[in-house]
């Protein structure tokens, strides 16, 4: 689980100081599907970057599964991202020279998995995100929704304890967005996958267990949302 305490982050651009986070504290329990919402510029990405170990706050504490991740060296943080976290970017961030399958198994390769192990596992995950017949296509041969599924498969391949996604549907039409959200919801329910997802679309709310709303770098509101079965789910 994630415990973030009093995170502050100020960007300095020349003489202007921009307060991106002004003291945010947050806990995410194992198996939760948390949505971070708020207007553009409210600090959502900044928060997710810090939770994803891609950036460091100016002050505050972040503990993930009991590890004080801010105390880790850069090298250890890289290993932590590799072994514990899965990150999904708004614009997919696939490696264009690699096929869908290669994109997915790349990190397993780093972890030293055997060929059979990583091929089976990657194919399995691509199957699960609905890309069983697209595995050997490259980024340029995939639609936006398909690319985002590859990115999700890549984030999941090492069984991360937390999946972080920064506006994963921002570049997708609503139909495709819905299928991606359904996928997240299924992962959350079936595999008890902890997910922290940034979004600014109102209708995404119904998917989240809890919604944290940011405003000007501060938490403005926390709402427990979905209690019953997820929308459109159950079949």
């Amino acid at each position: 689980m994630i415990v973030a305490e009093d995170l502050r982050r100020v960007y300095t651009m020349g003489r202007v100081e921009v307060r991106a986070l002004g003291g945010v504290s947050l806990e995410v329990a194992k198996g939760e599907f948390v949505g971070i919402m708020g207007a553009s510029g409210s600090g959502k990405s900044t928060l997710l970057h810090i939770l994803g170990l891609l950036d460091r706050p100016d002050s505050g504490r972040v503990t993930i599964d009991g590890t004080d991740v801010l105390a880790l060296s850069d090298h250890r943080r890289t290993l932590f991202r590799l072994n514990r976290l899965g990150y999904v970017f708004q614009d997919y961030a696939l490696i264009g020279e690699l096929t869908a399958l290669e994109n997915v198994y790349l990190t397993s390769l780093v972890r030293g998995a055997s060929k059979k192990e990583y091929l089976d596992r990657s194919a399995d995950i691509l199957e699960r995100v609905g890309l069983g017949d697209r595995m050997n296509h490259r980024q340029s041969e995939l639609s936006g929704g398909e690319q985002q599924r590859v990115a999700i498969a890549r984030a999941l391949v090492n069984n991360p304890s937390i999946l972080l996604a920064d506006e994963p549907c921002a570049n997708l039409d609503s139909q495709t967005s819905k299928s991606i959200l359904d996928l997240f919801a299924r992962l959350n329910e079936d595999l008890d996958q902890t997910i922290v997802m940034v979004s600014h679309e109102e209708w995404h709310k119904e998917y989240f267990c809890r919604v944290v709303t940011l405003q000007d770098g501060l938490i403005a509101d926390v709402t427990e949302c979905r209690k019953g079965p997820r929308p459109g789910g159950g079949e």
């Binding site: 290993l79 970017f89 790349l106 990190t107 390769l109």
Partner: protein, 400 residues
């Protein structure tokens, strides 16, 4: 560590396989040409040395020379000295020569050069001049009024030889007057003309030592004795050997006899070579640096993503170094092929130097040195730009 290398190799290979073919081919070609440049000049220098050595041994001096002891003009007791030296195992021939600076006269023209008195049979056991006749025949033991001369000295009708001694058109059968330093004048019939391509030999002439001894009043004497050994390159050992047989005269290897001439030329060549090598390697550094620099700058975002998903920067850097190693390896292989082409061509159509035709002599050590230096500079030139981009902050890299 091993898993890391596996990932580096994987990324490098995909990048080579699926990256720009044109850039790859061009880079490999540039490395190949640099390789050729690195190997070519040393091979010509080795060729010059080789040519000088074989020409000296085959036409001018043999492997070793025996010269009069300090203060004497001639070696005495040539016959018995020849016997002593000839008995040494590995020595396959000795040829005593009498040398005189003479002036030749022909049809009102004159030329000054060295005339040698030789024993034809002995001379054949050391030099290959007798096999290099372009006209007529070489001397026989009994000849007294015959002379053979080099093609430059014989010359061509109506052509001055640019400062070299030339009689401008002497042919076989013509009569040539020779004025000796002691005032004697003799007329000889030209029996043959030879061409060795060593200019000092091609400007000289030969008569029998029987004839020359008569003119100069010598008895069993010689100015120099050429010594031929079974194998080349062991002159120093043979020199010690000859001296150990109690020879009192001066014994010198052909290198010593030619007196630093080649050494000086090689030194100058080596300076040129060092400059050329330096320039080539700088070009290699710049090319590899630019290629990897552009490559990594274009992939800044990709490098950021790789780091974001947990790939250590060293793996990323190594993937570029491996690409450089691939490019350099293929470049060197293409370079070896190109160089073989150039070498084959220049062996068929050799460069002509004053000392004779020069064939490129590609030495394995020169190839190894070129490969090693090329790899050395390429890896450094590839590592630096990759390292600079790979250590960049993840988020600024991803933002691009």
């Amino acid at each position: 560590m091993l898993a890391g290398l596996r990932v580096s190799a994987f990324l490098a290979w995909k990048s080579i396989q699926r990256g720009s073919r044109g850039t790859l081919a061009l880079t490999i070609m540039i490395i190949a040409l640099i390789f050729v440049n690195l190997v070519f000049l040393p091979s010509i220098i080795s060729g010059v040395v080789e040519t000088f050595n074989t020409q000296s041994i085959d036409f001018d001096l043999g492997n070793l020379v025996i010269e009069p002891r300090e203060g004497s003009q001639y070696i005495d007791g040539v016959g018995s000295l020849q016997k002593t030296v000839g008995r040494i195992p590995g020595i396959t021939g000795t040829s005593p020569r009498i040398a005189a600076g003479v002036t030749y006269f022909y049809k009102g023209r004159n030329a000054a050069s060295t005339l040698y008195g030789i024993t034809p049979e002995d001379e054949r056991s050391v030099t290959k001049i007798a096999d290099s006749m372009t006209e007529g025949e070489f001397l026989s033991n009994g000849d007294t009024d015959a002379i053979v001369m080099g093609t430059t000295l014989a010359g061509t009708e109506g052509e001055e030889a640019g400062g070299l001694p030339s009689l401008e058109g002497v042919g076989v059968g013509d009569s040539v007057e020779v004025a000796y330093p002691n005032g004697e004048i003799r007329t000889y019939r030209v029996k043959g003309i030879y061409e060795t391509q060593s200019f000092s030999v091609d400007t000289s002439a030969f008569i029998t030592s029987r004839e020359m001894s008569g003119v100069l009043g010598l008895q069993d004497q010689a100015s120099i004795i050429l010594v031929k050994t079974e194998v080349n390159g062991r002159e120093e050992e043979y020199k010690t050997e000859i001296l150990s047989y109690g020879v009192q005269e001066e014994v010198r290897t052909f290198q010593e006899k030619s007196g630093g001439f080649v050494d000086q030329a090689i030194q100058s060549f080596n300076i040129i070579n060092a400059i050329s090598t330096l320039v080539s390697l700088i070009i290699a550094i710049v090319v590899v640096f630019i290629v990897i620099f552009i490559n990594t700058v274009n992939r800044r975002r990709q490098i950021g993503i790789l780091k974001a998903i947990g790939i250590d920067q060293q793996i990323i850097i190594n993937s570029y170094v491996l690409q450089v190693l691939f490019i350099t390896t293929v470049g060197a292989l293409v370079g070896i092929v190109l160089n073989a082409g150039v070498t084959t061509y220049l062996t068929a159509y050799p460069l002509v130097f004053p000392g004779g035709p020069v064939y490129p002599a590609v030495e394995a050590s020169a190839i190894l040195r070129s490969i090693a230096s090329l790899f050395g500079v390429s890896v450094v030139a590839g590592y630096i730009p990759a390292w600079r981009i790979a250590r960049e902050d993840i988020l600024s890299a991803i933002r691009g």
